[in-house]
Subunit: 286 residues, 2 copies
């Protein structure tokens, strides 16, 4: 079986030093990308977010290494006729050098470790995911502007929330901040469609600014002729929305069927956005 | 050179799968212990905190594995006549099994990975550390009761704060919460001595509840005939304290010389606590 497959710093390898700072402190960043027939979807936006994350955490952005990893990974998948896959790439601050320097919280300014892992893809490209069944997560996300927006590896809040999602047998959960404002789902961003407009929560204090979310904000909404806005969103506003929509790199655009007892009916906005999304990505791949 | 030395799940090994959840999401816990002549200091309190952390994160507490690692590590150090060392032990949720199950945030309930790493010790046992020079960290710690108190591996806040500490050429930094209350130093707990009493910040919403801190609260303060209390502490209160004291497993008890322009004079409380601390640990080792 050719997947999963892993590279560590360009070597085919599935192991990493226990002195890696990602392992020690979650001191790194990651991106999850969909691969389809020779192309990694939204590669540039993912790398832009990764670069922003590296700047925010003061990790050297490993441009060359990343480019070579992408080429190696694409060669591997093309060579084995694998049409669809999911890539997780990770960049950490690197390995504490001699077991002393950089062992404590203050990491030495060293060479980042780059890890590429490729897994099978669950949802075939251009397939519409079933509308998601959601619950409301009872534990608010912490407010931390220093870490907001970027996709860093400190994800215990998401791990704990995802555990409840699995136990409840649903697909996702709404995460709020400590002021009760809606932020996102556990592993997806959130849009509300109401009165012909789209809203997505402001993420300046917590949450991950997704690449599909950015694409909707910057391009897809305009293509669909829908006004879109990022701003604080309250829970009652969410419940009163005509349609609620999730976005992430692996599912693309997904309708929300319900949040606990609050049911939503598809008004066509999610379908329209999804269609624009598929077309946009396919055009990029041409 | 016999140190550093590492064990992964009881095997002499310094590498771990890139599918380890500690690497992926900081989904694990760690403890740092001082070793001196056959004994790991405060081993029981460290393991109690680790067990509490495992419960809080729903990770199976690997009791047997930990006990065997401690025995193996002590044998190694005794066999090589290494009198002093620092142990970092880590417990993660384990390895995502097939690259799919447990790859997302919701980890499968698998077998935790246990890593023991032993490093040289910087400060000889019973040596008094020089009074610490501190700055005030400008970025507050996030409030997250779900993760407060335990020593989990989501430590980017500490990594970023420790970077400023190193750049400023000082020893430590005061961390506040978003309400402006004092919580701790970056890698140490905090006590204020004032009017013959000791205060330490309440850690129910953020911070790590240190083992030396617990020992002071539960035993050493009483031995020193000082009343001790945990409660919210404001910044002005900190500046007005007669003496400010740091505690952690590696330094033990350390006086604070200054926090930026606010200088403190030793009143004897830190010295008294340190002496009680050394004696208590040595008694346990007999």
């Amino acid at each position: 079986m050719p997947l999963p497959v892993h590279w560590v710093n360009l070597q085919p390898d599935s192991h990493l030093s226990v002195l890696d700072r990602g392992f020690a402190y979650g001191d790194g960043l990651f991106e999850t990308l969909r691969y389809h027939r020779g192309h990694f979807h939204l590669q540039d936006p993912h790398l832009q977010r990764l670069r922003r994350g590296c700047q925010q955490l003061d990790i050297d952005y490993p441009h060359e290494s990343l480019q070579q990893h992408f080429a190696t990974t694409a060669d591997y998948l093309c060579g084995r006729d694998i049409a669809e896959a999911t890539l997780r790439l990770s960049v950490t601050r690197g390995t504490a050098q001699d077991g002393l320097q950089g062992r404590g919280y203050a990491g030495a300014h060293g060479t980042p470790n780059v890890v590429f892992s490729v897994f099978p893809c669950k949802l075939p490209w251009r397939q519409t995911p079933a509308p998601a069944r959601l619950i409301l997560n009872r534990h608010p996300l912490a407010t931390q502007p220093l870490l907001a927006g970027i996709k860093h590896c400190n994800r215990l809040e998401q791990v704990l929330a995802a555990k409840v999602v699995r136990e409840e047998g649903v697909d996702e959960a709404i995460m709020q901040n400590q002021a009760g404002q809606v932020i996102a789902a556990v592993a997806a961003n959130l849009f509300l469609a109401d009165g012909g407009r789209l809203y997505t929560p402001d993420l300046s204090e917590c949450g991950v600014a997704g690449t599909v979310r950015a694409l909707v904000l910057e391009q897809l909404a305009a293509t669909c002729m829908i006004h879109v806005e990022q701003r604080p969103v309250g829970l009652s506003e969410l419940y009163q929305a005509e349609e609620v929509i999730l976005s992430n790199s692996l599912i693309g655009i997904q309708s929300v069927a319900n949040i606990e007892d609050h049911h939503f009916t598809a008004t066509g906005v999610a379908d329209q956005l999804r269609s624009c999304f598929f077309d946009w990505v396919d055009r990029q791949a041409q």
